[in-house]
Every structure is written in structure tokens, then in C-alpha cells.
């Protein structure tokens, strides 16, 4: 690290850049959530199913996020693991109205947690129980039980009911993630 970089770091001027991974089953609202985090003028109007992945950037509380918005289609889920290694946070989207595929989501989550690049790391995971506005949506308590989240002991995690269409619940959720990342990665350096 160059002298200038080190100086900048001491004074806290250096931009804090982190990578976060956005995963979840298809049609759970990943791209919509990321779209909401972006600045007003950069947002897209229509969201189409992602093929492969998209890289999006947004800033929150002086932390610059680079979000890898992965495709949730079952054909491309195998590609998630390529990004595990160098991410400092994970956002896991759950469609809380899709009771049928909750087991699929659980399976994908378990596979993620047991991956060698994830298993020993203290990496914050933010669960977003999306589509809370729908009538038959599950509550966060039920989702915690359904996904077996209480078993995650070595990583900080947080679950929040959200509505990505109007942005409800997203603000406090990303705030939590930012704080966690700041604590674990940035302040430690």
C-alpha cells in the first residue's frame, strides 16, 4: 500500500469499498431491491429476469457497495459460488409468499453456508423476507423457523420483512448491514 493510501486511511478519507453478494431464488426480488438502493436518477423502470449476473454500485453512509446481483434461476445457481471468495457481505432474498419453494431456499442456503469459502468466515448475512405486502406472506418468525436460521452461530445475521416495490423496510436493513461491515472489516484495518 502506497504512502498516500496509508495517509488517507489514517484520516478516514479513503473511500470504503465493499463487495456484497445478492442471492436468492428466482423471482424473489433481488434486482428490484438493488434497483431501489441506487440513486433516483440511475434506476431502471422495468426489471427483467437476470441472466448470469449484474454488477451494480451504490453508496450508503460513506460505504461504497459493489453488489453482484446473481441470477436466481436454477440453471445459473451454480454460478453463485464463483463470487463467494471475495465478498464482505451477503444479502439473501426470500419470497415470503412462496411457501412451496421455502424448502428449496433452505437447501440453497445450507449449501451456501457449507461452502469452503464461507464456512469459517465471520461474514454478515442479511435476510430479506420480501413481498411482505402480499396477504398470504409468512412472518419473519415463521421464516426463521422454516429456514433453520437459529442454527447459524458463527456469523452475524439479521432478518427483516421488506417490500422492494415501495422500499418499505429496506432502509433499516441496509443500515444494519453497513454497520456490521464497518465493524468487521473497516474499523479493524
Amino acid at each position: 500500500m502506497g504512502l498516500f493510501d496509508r495517509l488517507a486511511n489514517i484520516f478516514g478519507l479513503r473511500k470504503k469499498e465493499v463487495n456484497v453478494l445478492v442471492v436468492g431464488l428466482n423471482n424473489s426480488g433481488k434486482s428490484t431491491v438493488i434497483n431501489h438502493f441506487k440513486r433516483e436518477e440511475e434506476r431502471c423502470i422495468d426489471i427483467v429476469p437476470t441472466v448470469g449476473f449484474n454488477v451494480e454500485k451504490f453508496a450508503f453512509k460513506n460505504v461504497h457497495f459493489t453488489a453482484f446481483d446473481m441470477s436466481g434461476h436454477d440453471r445459473y445457481r451454480s454460478l453463485w459460488e464463483h463470487c463467494y471468495k471475495d465478498c464482505q457481505g451477503i444479502i439473501f432474498l426470500i419470497d415470503s409468499s412462496d411457501k412451496l419453494r421455502l424448502v428449496v431456499a433452505k437447501e440453497e442456503l445450507d449449501m451456501l453456508l457449507q461452502h469452503p469459502d464461507i464456512i469459517g468466515r465471520k461474514i454478515p448475512i442479511l435476510f430479506l423476507a420480501n413481498k411482505m405486502d402480499l396477504l398470504d406472506s409468512l412472518t419473519t418468525v415463521k421464516l426463521v423457523a422454516g429456514l433453520g436460521l437459529e442454527r447459524i452461530l458463527d456469523k452475524p445475521w439479521h432478518i427483516r420483512a421488506t417490500n422492494a416495490v415501495n422500499g418499505e423496510g429496506l432502509q433499516p436493513a441496509i443500515e444494519w448491514l453497513t454497520d456490521q461491515i464497518r465493524d468487521i472489516y473497516i474499523n479493524k484495518r
Binding site: 469499498e17 465493499v18 463487495n19 429476469p49 437476470t50 441472466v51 448470469g52 449476473f53 449484474n54 454488477v55 454500485k57 459493489t66 441470477s71 445459473y76 451454480s78 454460478l79 464463483h82 471468495k85 471475495d86
Partner: protein, 876 residues
């Protein structure tokens, strides 16, 4: 420090390539830097450049390596650096054929191609098209359509070209996007217009009427883009080739000669002169345009013009004579390629008197031009030799001088070919030609050429005035050259011995020395020839030394069959079809295009292979090999609903009719397709093999096996044919038939003629002595018939008579008697061949020309009197 010093020294050595001495593994290791956050654009761009360099140097990446590098590269999408992003596009294009899961970048690319950054958009489209597969096409279709009609010409062009590339994945892409392409055609940008026209053509390519409509619509509007105009001319020419008499299109091409862009003017002129059917008068405007170009300041234009004129000079020398003055000026052109073409054009158009002068001029700079153009010069000389046979001495000397120069195999082979051709066409030149070739093989580094010339010496040498003088040249080869040349030389020696009895004792001494050779093949040949030649001299040994040119695969198959049979009868070699000899083009002009590659198998052999795959035909095939296959006969017009072509395969006693059918109706599926025939008198249908399924545009084949009648006279017949099938309606797009039962239907076809030529073929013995065979026929109990005919009004020249007679009888002209001397009023055509079943036929036709009417006296000798009668009666 040490390494630093070395680096410095390398730098002093002259900069050099910074990418030299790179290791694939190290570079791929470095590619891990791509995963760092934040991305360092300069460093990553450098590494990516290294990867691209390696791939372009031909380094092979494994699938895992490529996939790893590819996924690391996808991380670079987070950087906003323009240079890096464009390098990433290049990387995607290079790695996409090797790496797996490349579709992962689809969304990232579609985001870039619809984004605001114009620098990304075109490149992203091109990268996207390389990673897209059939399944993904749907997802990107909407974006591609938008991109085609985009305001930015670069984006629009990229999308149009990409859609052309995508047609290899999904055939109907161009058709689905034709509306957008139509809109892009109205663009002001020259490139967009050109590419849009390309897509529109691709969409209509298979439908001739649609192409005609497109072309005639566009010819009325004037194209602003010269590229598009050129393409339009090419499309118009293709249509003109297929149908003649479309005056409108011809007028369009002619009007393009007055276009303001030179490119279009040249294209139009080139198209007009290449049309093939144009007369000298029609060519005149095109030639005068080319003449103008000859005086142009731009070398490219001069080159194009003179090259085109050079080609026209072969077919229409008279038309080009007008340009002679301009061409004379170009001889001194600083560009040697232009000068060469100019001189060779002049050689073709010029008079006999100017030949000497021009040859002298060529000689001054022949050493300065490349091999490719030397070949052009050689071909011009070859044409000249045929035009002015009297000049052969000058030209031969020139050729032999060229032979002595340095040059590649192709160039030397072209010269040798020319000398051989001159010798064949002109008996006076034979001795001189052989002498030149002998001299050449003394110092020839091309083995294949040396072998060929030795073979030729063996064939032509014995009949020359003084055969003994060639022996020394040939035996020198035995002493000095490599094994394959020595073997060829031994064979050539043996031929001399067989043909010239006075030389026999001397050659036997030489051959016995060859038996001590170190190479097996040479020793074997020497021993074989010694053994044969030491026996009493007798004309039958000649065929053992000079075997007839039989087709080897057929011989092998026949011998195999023979060995597995009881072997009671002696093996009949006349059953074996001759190897195909390449017919020399008979016109005085030699086309500059490369000679057609001779296929490894003759027509009969390829058909034999094909027929052998039909199990039902095994019965016929086992009895005798395929005797002859006729040319393809069309039984329908080419544009009808069903297309049927027939090939007649003759066996000893059977006739197999192969019907190749094509269904051009996309909404029909044909089942149980057969061609029903009414067997004429004497014929018997053995069985039919129907084609079970004939889907849209997939060729299918059905066979009918007939037995020839006992009486050979009845074998010439006309067979009425009908196509019978079960038709089922089906979905045009998927080809899946409707559930309901089909209906029987039939379709009248044209009559099929079984002719004499179908049952007759040549023997493939070029060197056969006709007179000896003719006389021997009389002693062997051949029956002879003689008749005199006056040929019909359609035949007005001797050449025409020879050609139609050879084509009609199916016999082969021997002793090169099919070449009629110019201005001759009488000619004797000698023909030999075999009728099916191994019956020998010899024929002599004396032709006389009077008042453009040809009278013919035809004598036929055959081992079977019926066949002789058949031949004479079928002429009348």
C-alpha cells in the same frame, strides 16, 4: 540486481516485443488479480492484453483454465474504466468458444448495450452475439431488434452483422428481424445500409421470388451507399445467371456503369464481363470503363482493371483489342503485378508478329515478380502455344529458361504442365519438349514433379525418333535420386524395353543392376520387370508393363469377390471400370482458375459405395460390379412441388434406377414414396425399394430394380414414370404431421429414356493401338457391320459430329482421334468400349464435311453380333 541488468541489456537489443517469453501458466496466475477489490484498471488491462496475445499466438487453453480466467474476468465488470471494459469484451469473444457457462455475462452485456455509454454499446452487441446459444436467443431478441433501429450507426451496424452471425445458430433469425432491417435500410450511413441489405438478402436467400422482388424494388430507388450498390449488383448477377432474358436487371447493371462511385462502376463492369453470356457488343461499354481505369492514378484501380481485362481476354480477345494501347503503356508500370497482367493480356490479344517482342519484354522482369504471377505468365504462354502452334520453338525455349530459374513447386508444375500440353497438341514440339523435360529432371528438387515427368518419358519416349537418347537421363535418376524417383525411373526403363525390342538387352543389364538397390520397392520393381522382359517378346507382356488405368478400389473389390467365389472361371478384368481421366479442356483458351480437383473415386465408385449401403440391393450387387452410372436426369421442372432426379445404374443384367426425391412443400409430409414405372416390353421389375418418409426439404431416395431384356434391341426403351405417395398434412414450422390419416396421391413425371450410352463405357486404355485391335477383331471372330448416314441438320461441323457421336454411343475415342484438325473436311474417329456384360465393341467412323452437312460411314466390330447391330441401328 542481476535480473535488472539483463533486462536493460535486452532493451538495448532493440526494444523487442514486450510480450516475448511469456508463460501461459504465469499469465493465468496473474489473472487472479482480477478478483482484487478495488480493481486496478491499468494492471488488469495489461494482464488481459497478455492473455489475448497468448490466445492469438495460438496458445491452447484447457476448458478449466479458460473457465477460470473467464470468471475472473467477469469481476472486471465492476470497474468503470472504458479501456478495460472494451478489453473485457474482446476477452469474452476470445474465451467464449473454450470456456463453460459463458452465458453468465448475458445480463451484464445487455445492460451495457442498452446503456448510455456509446463506446460500450456496439462492442457489447458483438460480444453478446458470440456467447448466445439457441436457448438464450429469445431473451436477447427484443434488445437486438431495438439495436438494429438505433440512431447510432455503429450500434445499428454491429447489431445487423451480429444477426448475420446468429443465423448459424438459428436459421430464421434474419427473417424474424427483417422488418427492423428494412427500416435500417433507409439509414443515411453507408455501412448500415450495406449491412441491412445483407440481412435482408439472408432472410430471402432461399426464396428466389422474394429475392427477385427485393432486387427489382431496390433497383428503382438509388442506393446512397456504394457498398450496398455493389452488393445489389452481385445479387442481380446471381439472378441473371439463373434466368436469362431479364432485361430490367441487365439495364440496372449497365446503368451502374455511370454511377459516381468508382467502386460501383468497377463492380458493374466486372459483373458485365463475367456474365458469360454477353456478346462482344454488349461488353463494349464495360470494356471502355475498364480502359478508363487503366489510365487511373490509383494503382488499385489500374490493377483491378487490368486483372479483369486479363480474364476477359480469354473469352473475348477481340473485345479487349481496343485497349491494347493502354495496356502497352502499363507494361512499364512501376507495379510489377500490373505490368505482368498487362503483358499477359497483350499476349492473348496480340497478333503473332508481336509475340517475339513481348516475350523479350517479359524476360527482362520475370525474375522480379512473385511465383503467383509467374504462373499467370506461364498460363498465358500455354494459351499462346495453342493459338500460334508455329511459335512453339520460341515459347519452348522461353519455358525451359524459366524452368531453370528458382521457383516453387506450383510454378514448376505449371511450366511442366504447359510443356506437356504443348507436346500433346503439337507433334512437332514433342522431341524438343521431351529434351527440355529431361534436362529439367537432371536438377529438380520436387519429387512429385520428377516422378510425373519420368512417367511421361516412359509413355512418350519409346515412340520418339531416337528412344535410346533418353535412357541415359533416366538411368542417371536411378543413380542419383531418392527411392520414389528411382522406382519411377525403373518403371520408365521397363517401358522402353517393352516398346523398343532393340533396346531390350541393354536395359536388361541396367535393370539387373537395379536389383541391388537398397530400397525394397525399387528392387521389387526391377525384379518384376526383369522377369517379364526376359520371357519371349510378345505383345501381351506390354499390358503387364503398361497396365491399363483401372480404378483401384473397384479392382480390389472385384478381386475380393472373386477370391470368395469358387474360382472356376478365369478372372474377367474387363468388368472393372476404368479410372477416370481428366478431360483436357478442348477450347483454345485455358481458364486461369485452378483446375478442378480430381476426386479420389470415380463416379461409379462413389455410387457403388452409396448403393452398397442399401441392404436390399445386395442381391444385384453381388452378381456383378456396377458397370456404368448415367448422368443425372431431371424428371421434373426444377420449380415444381416435388423434385425428382434419376440416375440409371447399369449392371450386367440389371438396371437400378435411383430416384432422388425432394419435397418442397413445407406443409406436407410424404410417406411410402415410390416411383411407379410401367416396364416396357421385355423388361421385368424385380423389386422396388420405397422411401419411407420424405419430410420438407430433406432429400430422400427410392430405388427400382429392373432386369434387362434378353434381346439387347429391346433394351433401348422409353419408360413412363409416376410418383406415388401417401401425403399427410403437417405443421409447416415443426414438421409434426396431423393426427388424421393421410391420403394417397400421385404426380406425373416425365418419361425416362434408357439409351445405348447407359449400357456402354470406354475401356480407359489411352495408349491402345486401334489398328492392331481392329485387325485382331477380325481373326477373333468379331462380326462387322458397316453403314453410311447423313447426319441431321443440327450437326454442321466435324467437331460437333464427333462430340455428339461420342456422347450418343457412350464409346470412348482412342488415339486422341476426337481432336479434329482445324479446317479439315474429313476426319476419322476411332472408338472403343465395352457393352454391359463384357462385350467388346470397336467402331470406326469416317466423317466428311460438305456444304455444312456431315456424312458418316460407320463400321462397327463387336464380339456379339447383336450389339454391333444395336450400335448401327441406334445411330439411324
Amino acid at each position: 540486481m542481476n535480473s535488472f541488468k539483463r533486462d536493460k541489456k535486452e532493451e538495448e537489443d532493440g526494444g523487442g516485443n514486450p510480450f516475448q517469453n511469456m508463460e501461459k501458466t504465469t499469465v493465468l496466475q496473474e489473472a487472479r488479480t482480477f478478483n482484487d477489490t478495488p480493481v486496478n484498471p491499468r494492471k488488469c488491462a495489461h494482464i488481459l492484453t497478455k492473455i489475448l496475445y497468448l490466445i492469438n499466438q495460438g496458445e491452447q487453453l484447457g476448458t478449466t483454465e479458460a473457465t477460470e480466467a473467464f470468471f475472473a474476468m467477469t469481476k472486471l465488470f465492476q470497474s468503470r474504466d472504458v479501456i478495460l471494459r472494451r478489453l473485457v469484451y474482446l476477452g469474452i469473444k476470445e474465451l467464449s468458444p473454450i470456456a463453460e457457462d459463458v452465458i453468465i455475462v448475458t445480463s451484464s452485456l445487455t445492460k451495457d448495450m442498452t446503456g448510455k455509454e456509446d463506446l460500450y454499446r456496439a462492442a457489447a452487441i458483438r460480444a453478446l452475439c458470440t456467447i448466445t446459444d439457441g436457448a438464450m436467443l429469445q431473451a436477447i431478441e427484443r434488445y437486438m431488434k431495438q439495436a438494429i433501429v438505433d440512431r447510432s450507426p455503429a450500434v445499428s451496424s454491429a447489431a445487423l452483422v451480429s444477426s448475420l452471425h446468429l443465423t448459424s445458430i438459428s436459421g430464421d433469425i434474419a427473417r424474424r428481424w427483417a422488418n427492423e432491417a428494412q427500416e435500417a435500410l433507409n439509414s443515411d450511413n453507408v455501412m448500415v445500409q450495406y449491412h441491412a441489405l445483407g440481412v435482408l438478402y439472408q432472410a430471402r436467400k432461399t426464396d428466389k421470388h422474394a429475392v427477385t422482388k427485393l432486387v427489382s424494388k431496390l433497383t428503382r430507388t438509388s442506393m446512397t451507399s456504394p457498398y450496398a450498390a455493389c452488393m445489389l449488383i452481385r445479387m442481380a448477377c446471381k439472378l441473371l445467371e439463373e434466368e436469362d432474358g431479364n432485361g430490367e436487371l441487365l439495364d440496372f447493371v449497365a446503368s451502374c456503369l455511370r454511377h459516381k462511385s468508382e467502386m460501383v462502376v468497377y463492380e458493374a463492369a466486372h459483373a458485365l464481363v463475367n456474365m458469360g453470356k454477353s456478346s462482344t457488343r454488349e461488353l463494349a461499354p464495360a470494356i471502355s470503363v475498364l480502359q478508363l481505369f487503366c489510365g487511373s492514378l490509383k494503382p488499385a484501380l489500374r490493377f483491378a482493371a487490368v486483372r479483369t481485362l486479363n480474364k476477359v481476354a480469354m473469352s473475348h480477345p477481340a473485345a479487349v483489342t481496343a485497349c491494347n494501347l493502354d495496356l502497352e503503356n502499363l507494361i512499364a508500370d512501376p507495379n510489377r503485378s500490373i505490368a505482368t497482367l498487362a503483358i499477359t493480356t497483350l499476349l492473348k490479344t496480340g497478333a503473332e508478329s508481336s509475340v517475339d517482342r513481348l516475350m523479350k519484354q517479359i524476360a527482362t522482369f520475370v525474375s522480379e515478380i512473385s511465383d503467383e504471377f509467374k504462373v499467370v505468365v506461364v498460363q498465358a504462354i500455354r494459351a499462346l502455344c495453342q493459338k500460334f502452334p508455329r511459335k512453339h520453338a520460341v515459347l519452348m525455349n522461353f519455358l525451359s529458361a524459366m524452368l531453370r530459374d528458382e521457383g516453387g513447386l506450383e510454378y514448376k508444375a505449371a511450366i511442366a504442365d504447359t510443356i506437356i500440353a504443348v507436346m500433346e497438341g503439337n507433334s512437332e514440339a514433342k522431341e524438343a519438349g521431351l529434351a527440355h523435360l529431361c534436362e529439367f529432371i537432371e536438377d529438380c528438387e520436387h519429387i512429385s514433379l520428377a516422378v510425373r515427368i519420368l512417367h511421361l518419358l516412359g509413355q512418350e519416349g519409346p515412340t520418339s525418333k531416337q528412344p535410346s537418347r533418353y535412357i541415359r537421363f533416366i538411368y542417371n535418376r536411378v543413380i542419383l535420386e531418392c527411392a520414389s524417383v528411382r522406382a519411377a525411373a525403373v518403371t520408365a526403363l521397363a517401358r522402353f524395353a517393352a516398346a523398343c525390342p532393340p533396346l531390350l538387352p541393354n536395359i536388361l543389364v541396367l535393370l539387373s543392376r537395379c536389383q541391388l538397390d537398397s530400397d525394397d520397392e525399387v528392387r521389387d520393381r526391377a525384379a518384376y520387370y526383369c522377369a517379364i522382359l526376359q520371357q519371349q517378346f510378345d505383345p501381351t507382356t506390354l499390358s503387364l508393363v503398361q497396365p491399363p488405368l483401372l480404378s483401384i478400389p473397384s479392382l480390389e473389390r472385384a478381386l475380393n469377390n472373386y477370391v470368395s467365389s469358387p474360382m472356376e472361371e478365369p478372372f474377367d478384368i474387363s468388368q472393372i471400370p476404368p479410372a477416370q481421366t481428366v478431360e483436357e479442356p478442348t477450347q483454345p483458351e485455358i481458364l486461369a482458375t485452378a483446375k478442378q480437383q480430381q476426386s479420389r473415386l470415380s463416379r461409379e465408385e462413389t455410387f457403388m459405395e452409396k448403393l452398397a449401403q442399401v441392404p436390399q440391393l445386395a442381391l444385384v450387387m453381388s452378381k456383378s460390379p456396377l458397370f456404368k452410372s448415367s448422368p443425372v436426369v431431371e424428371l421434373t421442372e426444377s420449380e415444381t412441388e416435388y423434385n425428382v432426379k434419376c440416375v440409371k445404374h447399369s449392371f450386367s443384367n440389371h438396371l437400378v434406377l435411383q430416384f432422388d426425391c425432394l419435397n418442397t412443400l413445407s406443409d406436407q409430409l410424404l410417406e411410402d414414396v415410390r416411383v411407379a414405372i410401367e416396364p416396357p416390353e421385355g423388361y421385368r421389375v424385380v423389386y422396388e425399394i420405397p422411401c419411407l418418409r420424405l419430410a420438407y426439404n430433406e432429400p430422400g431416395t427410392t430405388y427400382t430394380v429392373l432386369e434387362f431384356p434378353e434381346d439387347v434391341h429391346a433394351s433401348i426403351a422409353t419408360i413412363p414414370t409416376t410418383l406415388r405417395f401417401m401425403a399427410r398434412d403437417c405443421d409447416p414450422t415443426t414438421g409434426v404431421p396431423d393426427a388424421e390419416q393421410g391420403y394417397r396421391d400421385e404426380y406425373m413425371l416425365e418419361d425416362l429414356e434408357v439409351t445405348l450410352a447407359d449400357q456402354m463405357r470406354g475401356v480407359g486404355k489411352q495408349g491402345v493401338d486401334f489398328n492392331a485391335a481392329w485387325d485382331a477383331g477380325a481373326t477373333r471372330g468379331f462380326s462387322e457391320l458397316e453403314e453410311t448416314f447423313v447426319l441431321g441438320a443440327s450437326v454442321t461441323t466435324l467437331e460437333g459430329a464427333v462430340q455428339s457421336l461420342v456422347g450418343f454411343l457412350g464409346l470412348e475415342a482412342v488415339e486422341r482421334s476426337h481432336r479434329v484438325a482445324t479446317d479439315a473436311v474429313g476426319h476419322t474417329l476411332l472408338l472403343g468400349g465395352i457393352f454391359r456384360g463384357g462385350k467388346e465393341v470397336l467402331a470406326r467412323a469416317r466423317l466428311a464435311l460438305a456444304d455444312s452437312q456431315v456424312t458418316m460411314q460407320l463400321s462397327v466390330r463387336s464380339s456379339d453380333p447383336d450389339v454391333a447391330e444395336l450400335v448401327t441401328s441406334s445411330v439411324g
